[in-house]
């Protein structure tokens, strides 16, 4: 199972916004952030997504199905390619397990491994465990208003509230109507831009606006980054409780 996939998946989950948009007058940064977080929603979701990894050898597609319940429980199963099929990943709070069907083993990713970057990628296991609610981690301030993807946006500067946040600050472009984050820059403490996320397409699913195509990129590194496409999305689905247990990994 690919960590990239998971990381990006989780990262995208909080980018995915939902719920009716509220006409905003003059909102503070905090309020905007709250709405962004609310749009992300704590409800249940089932999503099938495909990730396109652009490597030096060409591109590769990986498809997964993810069940999310609330803020801190998710279960992912990989569907394709054949080699990855059946690999599962379970996140419960700040714990992360992985199951590989070929070995029939469940392995917890913990301790030092969490901070380890994965095979030279810039994303760590820890990134996957990040709190999806931005307001829990950052102060927000509106610094300007811009048009991005033909959508009027607020540009928010987020500064970390706590010390143990991986990215010291971020800059997000929030759609004024839909409260969808359309673009995000993540910065190191010294102010250097580390990573960017650009949403390429936003679609309406049920009555929510959902970014369904995004591009993630590590700007320090050469390369074309990784694309993420939502194939299907179901909100407020019935998800049985047993899915979020270690026993379900083996099933």
């Amino acid at each position: 199972m690919n960590l990239w996939k998971n990381i990006i998946l989780f990262a995208l989950i909080f980018l995915i916004t939902s719920g009716p948009s509220i006409q905003a007058q003059t909102l503070s940064g905090e309020q905007i952030l709250e709405r962004v977080d609310n749009n992300y929603g704590s409800d249940n979701k089932i999503m099938v997504a495909t990730m396109v990894i652009h490597g030096r050898r060409g591109s590769r597609e990986v498809t997964s199905k993810t069940w999310v319940k609330g803020d801190d429980r998710s279960f992912t199963e990989y569907l394709a390619p054949p080699r990855e099929k059946g690999t599962k990943m379970l996140k419960l709070g700040d714990q992360l397990w992985m199951f590989s069907p070929s070995t029939d083993r469940t392995i917890q990713i913990s301790g030092h491994m969490l901070r380890q970057s994965v095979m030279g990628s810039d994303l760590s296991y820890e990134d996957m465990m990040e709190d999806p609610k931005l307001q829990n981690m950052y102060n927000a301030q509106v610094i300007s208003e811009e048009t991005y993807m033909d959508r009027p946006c607020w540009v928010l500067e987020l500064t970390s509230l706590k010390e143990d946040i991986a990215y010291h600050s971020r800059k997000i472009w929030v759609d004024k109507e839909r409260y969808v984050v359309l673009k995000e820059d993540r910065f190191a403490k010294g102010g250097k831009l580390l990573k960017t996320t650009e949403v390429k397409k936003v679609e309406q699913i049920d009555d929510r606006w959902v970014p369904t195509h995004a591009l993630f990129k590590d700007v320090l590194k050469n390369g074309e980054g990784t694309e993420f496409r939502v194939e299907s999305m179901e909100f407020n689905a019935e998800i049985p409780e047993y899915i979020f247990t270690k026993a379900a990994l083996r099933r």
């Binding site: 990894i53 490597g55 050898r57 590769r60 080699r83 030279g120």
Partner: protein
């Protein structure tokens, strides 16, 4: 005259035997000493060759650029064809694929939960194929401390130190958590069948050795390999030959515009050992030079002695009217004959021993405290083309010079005093 002199040399044992024996011994030592120093030079790079680069190393151009990080995502795909080509084009080398990888080794408890885990470095080598060179090259058979070598798929060796740290017993399952060549996480079960020791701390910490096919499966590297190493069959690195082969290969197979086309590089290009080899060569060169000079002096000395010994004989020959120039020339030719015979004999015997030392080597393990070291404790001689004629320098030149100088004494002697001398 030469015929006559050869007869003389052969028939008069006192005139021939000792000088020839001396020259033979001297030439013999020179040849062996030369080959030995040559061999020692190779020993300097042997560890690097075995564990890192081989004598020649084929990888993709992209891999080569970052090879110190062992980027398996840039591995060469199409290994079978490459191996075929290599074995066909360069049969003078043994070609064997290697994959270096990193990961975590995870030991489960009885419930399949992680009991203990630690980071590991992995080396995938050919363990199972019929004529695998790797078991020999890595001296695996003798390095096993506990257990045995892997015999079937999914069996691995790990270092003794690592096994102790993880508390692994033989036959136990160990799960390798690594990453495929496409970046996906790879989780594979292995059974630990034996432990080894390298004698190099950095490797002894946490190395695992697995069969190449197992790792290809585990890391999604079907028909792919990080590197293909080539070893000269006599296990001795020869830079010029290696460079020639690399050049030949690259002009035929490597494409500058395709970063995944293969490129071959030599041991010294790859390992940054150019300097050390240069130094060792220079050092060896000086040693050989000094040795040959000293040996020449010894044999020259022997030549001088020989002529002095024959003072009486020369006197008689002068007395019966032999021309001084003729006498001098005959002495010199005789010394050349002796030098030649001695040199040939010495070279033959010396080459014999050198070849033996090249094939067998001398294991100095008994001189060392740790006899299970995988680092090379076998020193070998190396017979090069120069080995065939290096002995002739002291062998012929020195005896020739010796008689040239001592023979000059002939011209100092006066015929009038000869009879007097002969009387004593």
């Amino acid at each position: 005259m030469i015929k006559f002199l050869i007869k003389g040399v052969l028939r008069d044992r006192s005139r021939s035997l000792f000088p020839v024996l001396t020259v033979t011994a001297g030439v013999f030592l020179t040849v062996v000493g030369f080959s030995w120093i040559n061999g020692i030079q190779s020993n300097w790079v042997e560890v690097t060759a075995k564990y890192n680069t081989g004598h020649l190393d084929v990888m993709t151009r992209a891999y080569a650029e970052e090879s110190e990080q062992s980027p398996i995502e840039l591995a060469y795909i199409g290994l079978d064809q490459l191996l075929n080509d290599l074995r066909q084009d360069f049969p003078e080398l043994i070609w064997t694929p290697r994959i270096k990888f990193g990961g975590l080794l995870d030991i489960p408890d009885e419930n399949g939960e992680t009991k203990v885990q630690g980071p590991c470095m992995g080396m995938a080598v050919d363990l199972f194929s019929k004529q695998t060179p790797d078991i020999n090259i890595l001296n695996l058979q003798d390095s096993v401390i506990r257990g045995r070598l892997p015999e079937k798929p999914s069996e691995i060796l790990i270092t003794e130190e690592f096994a102790q740290r993880l508390g692994v017993s033989m036959g136990q399952t160990a799960t390798l958590i690594s990453s495929t060549m496409y970046g996906s996480m790879a989780i594979t079960n292995f059974s630990v069948t034996g432990t080894v020791r390298f004698g190099v701390s950095a490797m002894d910490r946490s190395t695992i050795i697995a069969d190449i096919s197992d790792i290809q499966n585990a890391l999604n590297m079907e028909n792919a390999s990080g590197e293909v190493l080539g070893f000269f069959r006599d296990n001795l690195y020869e830079n010029e030959k290696a460079q020639e082969i690399a050049q030949h290969f690259n002009s035929k197979y490597s494409d500058q515009d395709d970063e995944f086309s293969p490129i071959m590089s030599t041991l010294i290009q790859k390992s940054g050992l150019e300097d050390i080899l240069g130094m060792v060569n220079m050092y060896g060169g000086v040693i050989i030079f000094v040795f040959v000079v000293v040996m020449s002096i010894v044999l020259w000395n022997a030549g001088l002695m020989g002529s002095l010994r024959r003072y009486g004989e020369i006197g008689v020959r002068m007395a019966i009217g032999e021309d001084k120039g003729h006498l001098y020339r005959s002495l010199i030719i005789e010394s050349l004959i002796i030098g030649f015979i001695g040199s040939v004999l010495g070279t033959i015997i010396g080459l014999g021993l050198s070849f033996y030392l090249q094939a067998k080597g001398i294991n100095i393990a008994y001189m060392m405290k740790n006899s299970t070291l995988m680092i090379s404790d076998t020193f070998r001689a190396n017979v090069t083309s120069l080995s065939y004629y290096v002995g002739f320098i002291p062998g012929m030149l020195a005896t020739f010079l010796g008689s040239v100088i001592s023979g000059l004494g002939i011209y100092k002697r006066k015929t009038s005093q000869l009879m007097k001398e002969l009387e004593t």
